[in-house]
């Protein structure tokens, strides 16, 4: 009897799973973001930007017809292993275009699925070059790691007269390894010395790493990691009395970092896509929207500081809408056709794609420093490659 019940339950689930609500005049946009795992925090902030954009512009006119935009959100669990099924879930739901993801590893793993299905994807903050390389269906609106790494290396050499950098990356993380590699390359090109170290997944004890950095006399620590590790690194650096500045890439631009650095004697510098205050209307709008809903507030890390990835998510959504308008159809193939020539003026700047890999044409990054008293980001410089 138990087995029969089990069978019935399974059958019911089967039914519920395949059931999908279909309404006329709806265009679906897939949101392919991590909601759990290492990149969960960042993925949620990025999703918030997309959802906010959806609340601002819930409809779009495609080919003369008004369409409701429906967001289909799946969790790729920050994992390259779960990414293909999550991606094909989106494809099965019949999305016209996909936004995401935060964290390059999952994007690289899902790219072939989107390519096979002919569904275009717009990378929001996946900065590793391999995401779009040789893939006609993956576009992205953010800058790339070779650019970001060079910017940071220049910044370290110019502002801190750094001769020696301690580069700490996470094993098996494409984003981390890639950015660390490009930074090291650029920094050595500037005549600096690099000490490289890696930490395994699930590592919580960074004492030894910070001690090594201090012992080696590093002038800066460069740690392009997920925010989870970042909290621990900042905490340990402060308690070990490390005096050199900590540098990191776009992932660290998060209020998780701000709250970790608050009240501690530590300098944290990041490069990022957006500086709060860059667009008053967007800032006040999204703050109000975030504060209005407790779930959103929790997903944003408990306060209303706008992360750059949120702004990027917002821009990605509008880029997708532009592409849909240009395509004049909800057919993924038409959207893919339309994307290379799509342009959009977003809150993080003008967005256009190059014709090599479909990467964004961006030549500046913002450098920010964490203010440990106010727990806000202070603007430092706009830095390009020179």
């Amino acid at each position: 009897m138990k087995k029969m019940v089990a069978l019935a339950v399974c059958a019911a689930m089967c039914f519920a799973g395949t059931m999908s609500v279909s309404a006329a005049e709806t265009v679906k946009i897939g949101v392919f973001e991590p909601a759990s795992g290492d990149n969960g925090a960042g993925g949620k902030q990025e999703t918030l930007g997309i959802q906010y954009a959806n609340s601002v512009a819930p409809t779009v006119e495609i080919g003369g017809t008004e369409y409701n935009v429906e967001l289909v959100v799946v969790d790729n669990e920050s994992s390259a292993e779960k990414a293909p099924t999550a991606a094909s879930q989106l494809v099965s739901e019949g999305v016209s275009v996909v936004l995401g993801t935060y964290g390059s590893g999952a994007a690289i793993a899902a790219a072939p699925t989107f390519e096979q299905a002919g569904v275009p994807a717009i990378g929001v903050t996946c900065t590793n070059p391999q995401v779009t390389e040789g893939n006609d269906h993956y576009f992205r609106i953010c800058f790339l790691d070779p650019f970001q790494g060079t910017v940071l290396a220049n910044f370290a050499a110019d502002n801190f007269e750094a001769k020696k950098a301690y580069v700490l990356t996470k094993l098996g993380d494409d984003y981390s390894a890639g950015l660390g590699f490009y930074f090291s390359e650029a920094f050595q090109g500037l005549g600096g010395e690099v000490i490289q170290d890696t930490f395994p997944e699930g590592n919580a004890d960074f004492t030894s790493y910070i001690t090594t950095a201090i012992n080696e006399g590093a002038d800066v620590i460069f740690a392009p990691t997920s925010t989870e590790a970042a909290q621990l690194i900042i905490d340990t650096a402060a308690s070990q009395g490390a005096e050199m500045p900590l540098l990191a890439g776009d992932t660290w631009d998060s209020n998780v970092i701000l709250s970790a650095a608050e009240g501690k004697n530590i300098q944290v510098y990041v490069t990022t896509f957006y500086q709060e205050g860059g667009n008053e209307e967007f800032d006040s709008g999204i703050k109000e929207w975030i504060n209005a809903d407790s779930t959103n507030l929790a997903n944003n890390g408990g306060n209303d500081t706008v992360a750059a990835v949120t702004a990027m998510g917002y821009d990605a959504y509008f880029t997708a809408l532009e592409a849909l308008k240009n395509a004049g159809s909800t057919d993924p193939a038409a959207v893919t056709e339309a994307l290379p020539s799509t342009t959009c003026t977003g809150v993080t700047g003008a967005i256009a794609f190059d014709d090599v890999n479909g990467d964004a044409i961006r030549d500046t990054a913002y450098v920010k420093v964490a203010n440990t008293e106010t727990a806000q980001w202070d603007f430092v410089a706009e830095q390009g490659v020179n």
Partner: protein, 294 residues
């Protein structure tokens, strides 16, 4: 002097981590000693203890939430034993171990659901979260408190086991299930008692561990849990002093390896140590009686 100032931080970190592993390892070694079960869920109980404190500290002051955490963890340990292990007491050992893996899977997913996949910041506990300077090294006070507290707790536990009636019952159950029952010992109660002690120490361990590394994710407990288990095997499973010494050795070695720049192998080393000890001296450092391990 230069040598000391450079290497003291590694040593301090090693001793501190070792103390925390020790507190977890005792839970493993006691449960294994009695039930012959590798309690894979023990590391997750450790995580849950941390999460209870994170959430309870937002609604009540720390002097209430810390005792609450200890109690809640003990209750969780008891519930897990009653629900997942007790029904399988006569089943093959593999079933119980699979059940333990299932519990671990469930606790992790539950933690994932409740935290929403976001890392939770552990509240700073006054005094022990502050930093101090020991000679040339700077560190948190908890680093120094941990080994002392560990040794005090282990001493108390040894007194309990060697000099009380319940301790005697525990030793007896570990030796022979059936005969103990014949002697009128309520075996189930004794087993529950070991889970109470194990969970309590895991909760204390989690307080110390997360004060040091103040970020909790659902899988936080997995690695410390496995390493603590290795420590228990290393020291001779069933032997409490063995587990403690094993934990300190593993904690210190791990940090020395990281200090040497072999970071890729810091976790692998622990397992290599496990395999070597299993093959060379399966009874561990302090294990005496020959069991059916080989």
């Amino acid at each position: 002097m230069d040598f000391i100032s450079k290497n003291l931080p590694y040593l301090l970190a090693g001793i501190s981590v070792g103390g925390q592993y020790a507190l977890i390892a005792i839970g493993y070694t006691m449960v294994y000693g009695i039930l012959r079960l590798i309690n894979f869920a023990h590391g997750d109980i450790f995580t849950v203890a941390a999460l209870v404190l994170v959430y309870s500290s937002t609604i009540m002051p720390l002097y209430l939430s810390i005792p609450l955490t200890l109690v809640a963890t003990v209750v969780l340990g008891l519930v897990v034993e009653r629900v997942a292990y007790k029904p399988l007491r006569n089943a093959p050992r593999m079933s119980v171990m699979i059940s333990a893996i299932g519990v671990s899977y469930l606790l992790q997913n539950l933690a994932l659901y409740i935290t929403g996949g976001l890392a939770q910041t552990y509240p700073a506990i006054p005094i022990i979260s502050n930093t101090i300077k020991i000679g040339p090294a700077t560190t948190k006070i908890v680093t120094v408190v941990t080994p002392v507290l560990t040794i005090v707790l282990v001493f108390a536990l040894m007194q309990l086991i060697n000099h009380t009636k319940i301790g005697m019952a525990m030793r007896s159950v570990a030796n022979d299930f059936e005969t103990s029952r014949l002697m009128g010992i309520k075996v189930d109660n004794i087993i529950s008692m070991t889970f109470v002690i194990g969970s309590f120490l895991a909760a204390v361990g989690s307080l110390l561990y997360f004060t040091n590394y103040a970020s909790v994710v659902p899988t936080s407990g997995a690695m410390p849990g496995l390493k603590a288990f290795v420590a228990a095997v290393f020291g001779g499973i069933g032997s409490i002093p063995g587990a403690v010494i094993g934990a300190f050795i593993i904690g210190i070695c791990e940090n020395i390896i990281k200090g040497l720049g072999w970071t890729t192998f810091s976790d692998a080393f622990t397992f290599a140590l496990l395999i070597v000890i299993l093959i060379v001296k399966p009874t561990g450092l302090f294990g005496e009686k020959a069991t059916d391990k080989v």
